[in-house]
Symmetry: C2
Subunit: 359 residues, 2 copies
């Protein structure tokens, strides 16, 4: 069992990582003295874990469970309203807490609902997918999608606790495991070359859910993210580096229709496009680009997603949150282990999109 | 022209108060360098001020205006979505700003939309009612109503600037002016006996819109509120005192149906109930209770709103944001000029409601 902390003054919190970390949740929560607990989960995760978790937590406070439809299509304001209604129905007050039990979508929706219920109540992240454990459960970004794009409505609202039970990963479909590896690769690429080497060299063990290795990976990824978040909680600078591959990835998700590709799959492809663009701007060598593509492919992620329109992609990226006055800034790689934020000339971007199979 | 500041570290901002303060808005905004501006207003206010304001601001950035239905019925998540849609339609980005031009409802809705658009963009409060100028535009509380009660969904999101043009008050219906005086009386009662004396002695001048006096009143009320907010931004303690009269007031609004009574009218009556309850707990003398009722009546506000059910009122108050595990804390008066937060025995509360005409 590992314990990390995200250092954010009065919003600091712990991340507890390990096999059967879920068993620790009641103890961890008891000092937070919730008056009521609302577990928010989805149709895939709830049947496996929700009832047992509710039983464990019942000694702390009255527990209610709200089950949402699984998948990206639940990241809407309408779903957030369902969670708010459930909070009112169970007579939640300002000292009540939301427990987000599931993947990234559940954490984003439940965390956003918690952030606007009575102007903000506390919530706990219990991520059950690799993607949520290594990335989305840490850092306090919450939100939903809008027709105009991904994660465009939301808030910064830090959890009071994150409990990542790596035992939940063994029941994960392979496709979900691969999706999580996209963020793991990203962390190595933007911050730690040795970590990238570890991940690329042990990809098959990761895909086979080696328990000790998974715990190492979740811990190191959380550490990288927690350090960056602690230095720049609201993304006024360095935190933007965590968006490596995401400007492309968000555009892929939006153009293909939310839910067609998993977020991690779109990010995997986005990492390859970001590497290609970095090479075109003479930041990265061709061998490194190949190495990145190879790692993405070994994680069983798409390195190319064709059939999308170049002009549609450019429009989608101009509407991204990172755009200012229509100008997009990209996160690029100077080398493996070091990312930078840059404005990009239109012709280089166009060349990358062409090479990536955009029509 | 007066300038106050709300001291909140990196979220500090100015309040500019005076006749024709609106003329100063372009200069004040220029240093904030917005990429786009969305003016949010309502059907009553927009015809009078929106076009002129848009013209003044056009030199700073492209300006779009979104006009909402007037009144409390607009304080819904659905209206917030309309504002978000308008932001996407005008290609707003993270450096764009929302200008809330109107009363408390517009400030609450536009501010909340700004707080969740791309996880928070800046906004400016341009309050045009007395209630918004002396109270709701300062302090960063934003939000909307839920079927379960008033202001139950929202966020803390400080404006970047407040511009209160007292000239806009001269065109205000008398009923709206009175509603604002409820918060003015409240500020005197909870923080400053001399201010209360000034307000009670010059009530007829206030109702006649004496320009110099209005500027004094808006400035002093903003000062009282800004000081409290600076010490307790998120209402973990002292800020709760600003809810004097509001636990009763919110229950009246909910039971009578949102929009039946103006917020300030319900608060006026709530102040009388809070005074009565304070007397029953031996905090306040009978003469002070009479004096408070007299001031509320002279402001042409209701001192009693009958015909509501006692048990319904108790249920509504138990669901208030200030309740914890079903127990409501009331803000009471120790004397005129000094408020305290207290748990209240059920029989005293019941007696106050009976005396207040609840059936």
């Amino acid at each position: 069992m590992r314990r990390l902390s995200v250092k954010l003054a009065d919003r600091s919190y712990s991340i507890v990582i390990g096999e059967r970390a879920l068993d620790r949740l009641p103890d961890e929560l008891s000092s937070l003295a919730p008056t009521r607990l609302l577990i928010v989960s989805d149709q895939n995760v709830a049947p496996r874990y929700a009832a047992a978790l509710a039983r464990k937590l019942a000694a702390l406070a009255p527990v209610t469970t709200k089950v949402l439809h699984a998948g990206e299509s639940s990241k809407t304001l309408a779903t957030v309203e369902q969670v708010l209604d459930a909070l009112f129905e169970c007579s939640a007050d300002r000292k009540s807490m939301v427990v987000a039990l599931g993947g990234g979508v559940i954490g984003d929706v439940a965390g956003f609902a918690a952030s606007i219920f009575m102007r903000g109540i506390r919530f706990v992240q219990v991520p059950t997918t690799l993607l949520a454990q290594v990335d989305s459960s840490v850092g306090g970004k919450t939100g939903v999608n809008h027709a105009a794009g991904k994660n465009l409505i939301g808030s910064f609202h830090q959890p009071s606790l994150v409990v990542a039970d790596t035992a939940t990963l063994t029941s994960l479909p392979t496709r979900e495991l691969s999706a999580g590896l996209a963020e793991v690769i990203k962390h190595g690429l933007l911050a730690d070359e040795h970590y990238f080497e570890l991940v690329e060299s042990r990809m098959s063990d990761l895909l086979a859910c080696d328990a000790g290795l998974l715990e190492d990976i979740v811990a190191r990824s959380c550490e990288i993210k927690a350090d960056i978040v602690a230095r720049d909680e609201r993304e006024s600078g360095e935190r933007a580096l965590l968006n490596l591959g995401h400007t492309f990835g968000h555009a892929i998700e939006a153009l293909a229709g939310f839910g067609t590709w998993l977020h991690g799959e779109a990010v995997g492809c986005g990492l390859c496009l970001a590497a290609d663009l970095s090479r075109r701007l003479d930041l990265l060598g061709g061998a490194d680009v190949d190495r990145i593509e190879h790692a993405v492919a070994r994680a069983r992620l798409p390195t190319r997603i064709g059939g999308l329109g170049r002009s549609d992609a450019l429009r989608a990226m101009a509407g991204d949150k990172k755009a200012e006055a229509g100008e997009v800034r990209f996160i690029l790689l100077e080398r493996i282990g070091r990312a930078v934020q840059r404005r990009v000339p239109a012709d280089a971007l166009d060349a990358t999109l062409r090479a990536g199979g955009y029509t």
